[in-house]
Each structure stands twice: as C-alpha cells, then as structure tokens.
Symmetry: C2
C-alpha cells in the first residue's frame, strides 16, 4: 500500500484541512494518508483548543487513515526541529511522499530556495547573526538575510516571510538532512495568510481565525460554516464534557503560579528562555492578572509572540534547556488512532519498523520522550481547571488508540 504523510495540528480540523487532505491524496495517488499530529501543546507555544484524542477523532472522521503523535519535544520546537521530528517519523512510517500546504504552491521554488541557501550557507548565517545583534527577531533577521542572498537570483524562489512557506522549507531541509528517500510535494493553501483572522470565504477560514471567532463569540454555531459536521460534533462533545477550551487565557492562573514558584535564576533554565527574558516574565507575572496584559508586558522586538509562547509552554511543563539539548530524533511511533485501512497499513509495515510501536504507553513508560508527552498531556488537562480535566490526568495509560 502506498502511503503519503502530512504534518498537522488540526486545532481544530476545518475545511482548509479537508481540502489539503483530499488534494494530497489525489496529488500523490496514495491509498493511505498518515498524519503526524502534535499532542496537547502546539508549535505556536499554545495549549490546543481540545485534546489530542478529540483532534484524532476529527482527523479520522475526515478521512485520515492513521494518526501518529508528534512527541512534545518536537511539536513545541522551533520550525527546523518541528520539521525534523515530523519528517523523520513519516519516513520511519515508510511513507513514499509527504505533502505540505504552502502559500507558495510550487515545489520547484522550494527546491531552488533550498539549493540557494545551502550554497550560500556561510554568508546567509553571517547575515542572520549580524542582523540579530541589532536586536531584531530571528524570523525578521532570516527574512532580511534571505533578501540579501537572493537579490540577484533569477529562478523562482519562495517568499520566506510566509509561515507555511517557512515550515515547508524546513520539511524539505529535514528530508535532505536526514538522507530520506521520501518525496516532498506541496499544495497551495486556500487560505492565503495564516494570520488572517477574517473570514476568507464562506466556507474557509484559518484555524487561528476559527479560534478567534470561537473565543470572541463563545458560540460553536458561529464556526459551523468552516468545518465538517464531524469536527463540529467533536467540539460540541468536548465542550459538554470538558467544560472549557484550552487557551493561555484559561491556563494563565496556573502559569502565573508556576512562574512565581520559580526564582528568576531557575526560570532561565527552562527551554528557550534566554537573554534576560526570565526577568521580564517573572516581573510581568507579579503584576498581571490575565494573559493578554502579561504578554503585552513581556513582548519584545527581539522575540516573536510565538517564540515567547514557546518559552511559556516549556515553563508550564518544566521542560529545560538541558532536556532540549539532549533531544535528537523521535524514538517511538505512537498511533493515536486509525481506521481499518490505517490498521492494515500498520500491520503491513510492522515487521520492518526501526522504531518501537507504542500502543500501550505503560510498556514504554521509561522512554524519556514519551514521559514528556504523558506529562504534557497531564498538565494540559489540569490547565483546563475542570472536573473533566482532573479526571483525564493519567489518561495516556488508559486510552487505547482510537479505531473507527
């Protein structure tokens, strides 16, 4: 069976995701679609709207055949490590190709860009570090440096100021660096701008836009046009049992407690906390009662909002620089759910897998990366501050991969 991989967060699953899924299947002519999906914390350094099980259900109901958890250490990492973890897993799962959504839409442009930056690596990196010394953020420095090295190039290149293009670039880089045979493909996103919080069309809105509508209106019917019925049903079911959606606004009282238990010195040991941000974070926590003012207080032109949120995620989960530095590649394949086709595929490749297949976490509970996933899941549930959240602690040990 021919399988294609996609890298997803599905926070929540919407019509744009459905389009990507269906087009990926067509474009690659694949029987099996495998999604590597983040757990309860996401790459933007945020708790997910709903837990990984609910998002797995959304994925399966929409036609994904097999959902594999991207371990916490990669799911919450900067783009290059996020991509490395995801592509490594898709390759380990014997996918023939992976297909990512991008603002660009043409693979050629990505390959040209990868070639250009590899050839000019030294001057590109020098430009980045020079620019960062002026106090601008990493993504801005990347962008400026990219303009410099690409200014006289005639072949089509990717606009690396677009978030999905950046991720796509890193997928291609990861596939190269890991010496995989997996074939990259790309599909143009139907929502042009990830940050777009307006309704792009009658039926398509970005996940960010959907979450904004949901939190602003506090009404699931407002997001109904933008997602399959099965996704909406899953959100409805979550709301009725879990009592609250995951967000930093919701988690903030706990994050605040955690920050104020730290000294500034010990805060600086949390992964990604750097350049005196421990002071800004600690000071803001002493005075700010809600999340938005807290973020306004600590934001800095040196760091993107996303990067700061990743610091907060690692503070919240007690994930340290030391742990971050020890991480190399995923060390297991953990299915969160599958349909019959996904199950048959997994059966067919089982004997050739180079990584252990973790269906019951109890059997692999000494695996350090897996312990992080379990811990992050537990802390996510406690962050919900609801009776359901309290009950879901330890659920990784109780919930078997979902089968539909």
């Amino acid at each position: 069976m021919k399988a294609t991989g996609i890298v997803v967060e599905y926070n929540p699953f919407h019509n744009g995701h459905l389009h990507h899924l269906e087009q990926s299947r067509v474009k690659t002519d694949s029987e099996v679609m495998i999604a590597v999906m983040s757990g309860n914390f996401l790459q933007r350094g945020e708790p997910a709207l709903v837990d990984k099980w609910t998002r797995t259900k959304m994925a399966l109901n929409a036609g994904v055949d097999l959902v594999i958890e991207l371990p916490y250490a990669f799911a919450t990492a900067q783009a290059s490590d996020f991509a490395k973890g995801a592509i490594f897993l898709l390759d380990a799962l014997k996918c023939k190709s992976f297909c990512f959504g991008s603002e660009e839409g043409s693979l050629r442009a990505f390959l040209h860009t990868y070639e250009l930056l590899t050839e000019n690596e030294a001057s590109y990196n020098l430009a980045i570090s020079t620019l960062m010394k002026e106090g601008i953020s990493y993504p801005k420095a990347l962008n400026e440096a990219y303009k410099l090295v690409s200014k006289d190039v005639s072949v089509p290149l990717v606009d690396l100021s677009k978030p999905n293009n950046i991720l796509g670039y890193h997928y291609i880089e990861a596939a190269q660096m890991l010496h995989t045979q997996i074939q990259p493909k790309t599909i143009q996103r139907v929502v042009a701008d990830y940050h777009d919080d307006a309704k792009a069309s009658e039926t398509i809105a970005s996940a960010t836009g959907i979450r904004k509508i949901l939190f602003d209106d506090n009404d699931l019917s407002a997001i109904k046009p933008f997602m399959p019925t099965t996704s909406l049903d899953a959100l409805n079911e979550w709301q009725s049992t879990a009592d609250s959606f995951g967000s930093w606004e919701r988690f903030y009282p706990l994050l605040r407690l955690i920050i104020l238990r730290h000294t500034k010195e010990s805060l600086a040991q949390c992964a990604e906390v750097t350049e005196g941000m421990e002071n800004a974070i600690w000071n803001a926590a002493t005075t700010c009662i809600t999340f938005q003012p807290f973020m306004e207080k600590i934001k800095s032109k040196r760091f993107t909002w996303t990067r700061i949120q990743r610091m907060l995620t690692h503070i919240y989960t007690e994930f340290t620089w030391k742990q971050l530095r020890e991480i190399e590649l995923p060390t297991y394949i953990r299915p969160l759910g599958m349909n019959q086709k996904g199950q048959a595929y997994l059966q067919s490749i089982k004997k050739d897998l180079q990584l252990p297949l973790v269906s019951r976490v109890a059997a692999s509970k000494d695996n350090k990366l897996l312990q992080l996933d379990i811990k992050a899941a537990n802390l996510y549930y406690l962050g919900l501050q609801s009776s359901y959240g309290q009950q879901m602690v330890g659920s990784d040990f109780r919930i078997a991969p979902i089968r539909i």
Copy 2:
C-alpha cells in the same frame, strides 16, 4: 515598657486565644503584648484559613499590641526550628518574658523535663534513632524514648505526647540554646486537647475544631459562639472578598499540577521529602482527584500527617532541602500590625534592635528569608483560585503594617 511575647497562629483567633492573651498579660504583669505570628502557611503544613493581614486584624482587635511575622522558613518548620525562630524574634524584640499555653500548665515540670533530657541526651537520642529504625514516626519514637529515660524520675515531668507541651518544651529549649535572658511562663490551656474536634464547652473550641465546623457546615454563624465578634467580622469580611478559605482541599488542584510537573527525582529535592516519599506523593497525585484520598494514599506509619503536610507545603512553595539547610535564624523583624501602644514600644526599642526592622518590604527585597515570605504569600493567594487571590499577588509590596 515591659513586654511579653507569645507565639501564635490564630487560625482563626478564638476565645481560647483570648483567654491565653489576657492571662499572659496578667501573669507577667506586662504593658505590651507582642505576638510572633506565622504568615500564610502554618506549622501543621497547611495554608491558613485566612491570610496574615486578616489574622493580624483579629489579633489587634483582641488586644495584641504588636504582631510580628514569623518567617516562612520557621513557621513551617518542625517544632524545634519553629520554636527557635519564634523565641529568637521575641528576644530580639526585648521581651522580658514569653508565655505559652500548654496542657501541662506548670513551668516547673517543663524545667525538670528539659534538665532530664539534657542530662540524658545521648541515651535519649540513641533510643529515638533505634526506635525509628523500627519504622515508627518521629513523634512516637520521641514519646517512647522519653518513657524510657523518665521511668525512674520522681520530680513532676511534662507529658510529651501532648502537642502544646511539645511546643512548650521546644520554646524552653530554644531560650536556653540561644542563651537568652527571656523568662518562660506557661498557662494551662482551657481546651485540653488540641485535636479535640468537638465543642469543649459553650464558648471554647480549638482552632482545629472551629475549622472543622466551618468546613463541614460552610456557615460562619456555626462558629460564632467560639470567638470574639471582631474575629467573626474579620472572617465574614474575608469570605465576602476572598471568595474561599485557605485549605489543602481548595489548593489541591494546584498542588497536583505542581507535583506532576516534577520528576520523582526532583520532588526529592523539596524540603522534608525523604525516604521514598517522593514516589508515594507522585504516584498518588497521578490518580487522586481530591486531597483526602490523596493523603490517605500516601500516609505512612513512618510519618505523621503533619509531617507529610509540611512536605506538601514545601513542594507547593518550591522550598528545597538546600534552602532549608542554609537557614539559621531570622534576619529581620517584620511588623504586620500594631496599636498605639505597640507603636510606642517599637519606637522605644528601635535604636537598640540588632535586626533590621522591615516596614516596607521593597527596601529589603534582597533578603532571602523575606523573599520566601513574599513568595509563600503570593502562592497562598493564587491557591485561593479567586479573583481576589489573583489581585493580592504582590500585596506584600503594597500593604503597610496595619495600625489601629
């Protein structure tokens, strides 16, 4: 002006405390009554019912002239260190005497007991450690060892199985060990048994008993007979602003979060966590949704309930063995409140004080012990999980000593 010191928690202030206060003043013929009072966490390893400012108001309204905070590191310590911190402060405050309530009531018995145990220190300690190796708790071992060394003694001795007698013993020991001139006095408690949770009389109940009534009935009118009106008023005011009373039941979801952020190894670095208790605590937190079952799961005949609660307090406040071992004696005098007489007294001794007087914490914010007090206060307020609690974070910097 002649001053006498008392060591209090006032959790909450009740008629038995009033009796002790008035009798202490009479017995010592003192003009000024100074209370060294715990902050927001108590010696039994619990969050206080109401914060230190509310308890200070109760004390002042009942006739205490000056309230001084016993720093967190001593307020939540085992009896000998608790006593050492308190007596050191009363001595530093130039008190001529201190007067403690005890089940015993006769100072002579305390002095005899102190003499006996000092003379037989080696055999007493040997007996304790031998008994503890059999797996019984420290207080039980003390008690058994005490029976051994006192069995042929004819002078009156103190029954060291009673909690206030134990504390009293440690006050006397501290006064001796610190080479103070401060005179000990004792008054028999009108509630015979600290652990008594029934109503001992129409107007007297222990603080433990009062808290039990309060939490069981959830009705302040039920405890009205047992306390001065001003105390009840203060509790009423607290309830209407703070929304909840401090208790482990209330704090448990946050404690659980904190425990599950730890590894078992790092839990063992929290003060007082010893002998594999980190495993018991971590495992119980993964499964227990409320505090009582959690405690039932980790209780052990090696440790008293109180000792386990102290472990939890230190886990909650991130207070480590390393910090505990570095602590020697209080390093400042922090008034929480005073009446005019207390203020005049403080004025009169001010120039002779050996310790800095901290009226504004901002000026002493680098003091490590004071940082612990501020942190413990903040975490207490966050533990309340109410809007008031969120607002009270940092209040140590904003609230001046109360004056009435």
